[in-house]
Amino acid sequence: MDRGLVGLCIEAACRSSESVEKWRRQRRSLERLPSQLADALLRRLLARRLLFPSLLEVFKHSAEEIYLRGENSVNAEWMAYLGAFRNLRSLNVADCHKVTSSALWAMTGMTSLKELDLSRCLKVTDAGIRHVTSISTLEKLCISETSLSVDGIPLLSSLKNLSVLDLGGLPVTDQALYSLQVLTKLQYLDLWGSKVSNNGTAVLQKFSKLSFLNIAWTNITELPNLSSIECLNMSNCTINTILEGDGGKAPLTKLILSGATFINEAEALLYCETSFLSFLDVSNSSLQRFCFLPLMKALKHLDLSSSAMRDDLVENVACIGADLRYLNLSNTRVSSAGVEILTGHVPNLEILSLSCTPVDDIAVLSISKLPSVKVVDLSNTNVKGFIRQVGAEPDSVLSLEALESLKHLEKLKMEQTRVRDDALKPLSSFQELRDLSLRSTFLTDVSLHYLSSLPKLINLSFRDAVLTDSGLISFNPSATLKLLDLRGCWLLTRDAILSFCRNYPQIEVRHELAHIIPKDKFGSSRPSPSRSTSRTLWVNQQQGNIPISSYFEDQRLKYSREELLALQYSSLYLVSPLDRGITTSQEELN
């Protein structure tokens, strides 16, 4: 919330139910309240859990936009009040499971409503949609995954002003889609998971302004030419041809074919104009040869994860790399040799994912030659952090040192690799790093100590490591650090974590023994219904009560070396690296 007077007033108005009572009687003021203030006040009341149906009444002249998504309390009573909002332009009650068909009766004949989101309101049926169709002003309607039947779909044809229609997960048949052809203003149509087949696709050509179409998870194999389409999603479809037919070529910019099976790879995209395409997702698809890639000169975002991409095909990516910003090669067979092919061809690449690939430290050297890289994911790879050089002195070089040349590197993910403490030493000079994820049973206090010197670090994940209490206490994070994820660091004790939190109250710490969210963040963030905060509250209260005892000495008394070793064998972790970790900790403790 901003510190301006407007923000302070909204904060003061939503301080408690008593303060709400004091201002809610000012009927005249509420009528004159400009809509953006009314909407902001409503949002804050909702976040503070101070909103209840009869309080809605006072906003009926002023509110224009109401967002109640996922609010479990929203029921027929709420809808009865909302139905009387004469200036309401947009209402979102998605995921409100108590909104039933009969509750929607209250909305009959609303005069200003343009946008309505009922997604996943499971109790909304054909009867509910009958009420909605009386709102002739509607331009945007989202009813995906409601309980609408195939007979309810044709009712929508009376909403002639619709430009956005989301029917995802509904049993829309060819016949039902045919009945919607009068909706000629449609620009956005979502039909994922519907029963539309190749026979029904001709109707889509009637929507002359259609620019977005989602037909993922359908049985459509041949999509006729739709000359205005810009964004097409055919994920998980079996694809024969796309946009084949007469007429102007569609100005496609975004194509999502994730999980698609191609009958004939060479012909599938033959009819598409792909030279303007900037976004392509073919992850998990059945593509084998990627022969169409060299034509896509304008690509910025390319997702090839879990596909058959391999080293000898990387050339197809390199030749269109000039504009590429995002490249996902995770879960492919691309190795270090493939990454090397990319160097020099992707001058603008910012995000590169190589997780779950067989790349090793040679790839790290190649990555260091990509000048614009900001985000790198090397999780679950063979990266060890050093390269052995035969005959050289010393006989191994630290590969991560090479990444120092990347002046823009902000985020580095290296979970589940075989990198050890000494190989991480170069990380301590990564001045721009904001986000770092490490997760390995090989890492100890030493690694965390290296990270103390990262000046801009905001999020640090240091999981499953052999981190001791003394290692955590001696960790001196930068002032920018907001989140420290220590899950799986099984040696840490609750006392040590709480003591760390007391020293650095601005840091959110995650661990199995305590999840502590900073108080200021806790107060202003919108408590979501799905995230239980009771435990956090408890921890916060506890935090104050813990006496500032000598946790340090406590540790020494608590475990003998023998006990620590016993603990070690009782866990599932690897044995060898832990020995070193524990020795280190013991030395430091004594």
């Binding site: 407007v6 007033c9 003061a12 108005a13 003021s29 309240l33 203030l37 006040l41």
Partner: protein, 98 residues
């Protein structure tokens, strides 16, 4: 204190508040009125009338201007707002862009 450094803010009931120009300029609206080129009467006389803002609210707003200056200079105190005033003050603050 020189006269040029002060401005006069007048409420709907005609009450006059004379405050520092620096404080009043916390409001983007007043800032624009006082600095806009051309000869608005506000610019010339250093007087602004608010027919929509009552005396109680204008007084609170003047207090806020000074609080804001203090806050910006590092003195972190809380600015208390009586619940009864929140709505009127909210609308006035919105109008004044503060």
């Amino acid at each position: 204190m020189k006269k040029e450094d002060m401005v006069k803010l007048i409420s709907s009931e005609g009450f006059e508040f004379v405050i520092d120009k620096d404080a009043a300029m916390v409001s983007q609206t007043i800032y624009n009125m006082l600095t806009s080129p051309g000869s608005f009467s506000e610019t010339q006389h250093g007087e602004v009338t608010f027919p929509e803002i009552s005396t109680t609210i204008l007084e609170k707003i003047c207090k806020y201007f000074y609080w804001h200056l203090q806050f910006a200079s590092g003195k972190e105190t809380e600015f208390h707002i009586e619940p009864e005033l929140t709505l009127e003050l909210l609308m006035a603050a919105n109008y004044l862009h503060t």
